[in-house]
């Protein structure tokens, strides 16, 4: 989906703001969200990382930019916990009011009316999988990425859509996030690192001597 999360190359976000001696969590609620993530995974509400990443992509776009990293997690978790029926929005709103919060405050979560159902568990602990077919591309191959936008989860960022690059590495087969996020199977594919010249992404006005690398699944690529 062409969501707000797909932020690579966008202008206007201003300077980077590094902090000295930054703690792991700035506020206690951030660690709360981290714990909720673990519990939701252990309970099978979050079935896989792809599904969780997509839940974050689906939150309110203004909240995405303004609630911070753990605020985005909170929105994603509330989305999945509501979709799974573990909690209801009414329950949560009532509890927010009891705790002195504003029950009218718009939540980041965007639960779907007909959520995806993931009725399988990962066949391995990690995401690496054997793929029977041989890899289509070898290092050195010139490839063009898909140009057409797709609904749902994907790991091909907009800034590299329809661009030509060079395969520099092959990384075996991996679970395909675009289907796994939606409960449509693991469908493992070969994964490649593709190098794009800065000029081919940003034009000649871009910084000189730049190469950007992306790890891309085989179905994103066509031989050039």
């Amino acid at each position: 989906m062409d969501g707000i999360h797909d932020i690579g190359g966008r202008h206007g976000f201003g300077p980077i703001a590094p902090e000295r001696d930054e703690p792991a969590f700035h506020e206690r609620w951030e660690a709360r969200v981290f714990s909720i993530m673990r519990a939701a995974s252990a309970a099978g509400v979050v079935r896989n990382t792809d599904q969780f990443r997509h839940a974050i992509e689906r939150i309110d776009p203004i909240a995405y930019l303004t609630h911070g990293y753990y605020g985005r997690w909170l929105g994603g978790l509330e989305t999945l916990l509501t979709e799974a029926g573990v909690i209801s929005r009414a329950q949560l709103t009532a509890r927010v009011a009891e705790l002195g919060g504003d029950p009218q405050a718009a939540p980041a979560a965007r639960p779907a009316a007909e959520p995806d159902v993931i009725d399988y568990v990962a066949s391995e602990r990690d995401s690496r999988r054997a793929v029977a077919a041989p890899p289509r591309f070898a290092p050195g191959a010139r490839v063009r990425t898909q140009a057409t936008p797709k609904p749902g989860h994907t790991r091909l960022p907009t800034y590299a859509r329809g661009r030509v690059g060079t395969v520099i590495a092959w990384h075996d087969g991996w679970v395909f996030p675009d289907s796994n996020a939606h409960g449509r199977g693991e469908n493992p594919q070969h994964l490649y690192t593709v190098a794009f010249a800065g000029d081919d992404l940003w034009g000649e006005a871009g910084e000189p001597g730049l190469t950007v690398h992306l790890d891309l699944f085989e179905s994103y690529l066509e031989a050039q």
């Binding site: 709360r32 519990a39 909170l74 919060g101 504003d102 996030p177 994964l191």
Partner: protein, 190 residues
Amino acid sequence: MSEPSPQAIRAEALESLLIENGLLDAAAVDEVIEHYNERVGPMNGARVVARAWRDPHFKARLLADGTAALNEFEFDTTQTEKLVVVENTDAVHNLVVCTLCSCYPWAVLGLPPKWYKDPAYRSRVVREPRAVLAEFGVELPEQRQIRVWDSSAEVRYMVLPQAPVDAAECSEQELAGRVSRDAMIGVALS
């Protein structure tokens, strides 16, 4: 103490509901805070870098297969993704980012800093890495090639910074103390 943010209240509300229905243990939050503040951080990555600076055979193994090279250490962490280590040289400088979310090599660097997850770094570094580096106080020679690694799948990247000139005379432990987290992301030189 300032007013709690709407997110803080919402997180507390969600936590209390999940404790009531048995999904979450009330002690879990304190455990998480302690674990990530005290036991996990960039020290694993610093040890890897220090060894690579002192031992050319280890360095060769690390660059050939980062995941396998990690098994030479007894790290108290789980690495489920593939680790690729990229080397800075006089010709090449490397930077790591994740534009689509905030993928990061947790096993070697711990939790990512806030700026790594914020929109400014994620949007800019694939397009104007020199401008970003300048904000971190790093100016590179004009002819230096810049390679940005946008972690878009289950491969995680770590930068091997250039070794200090006195690396051969220092112990691995001394060297590890001189490696910054930022250098292993690529926004600092050491």
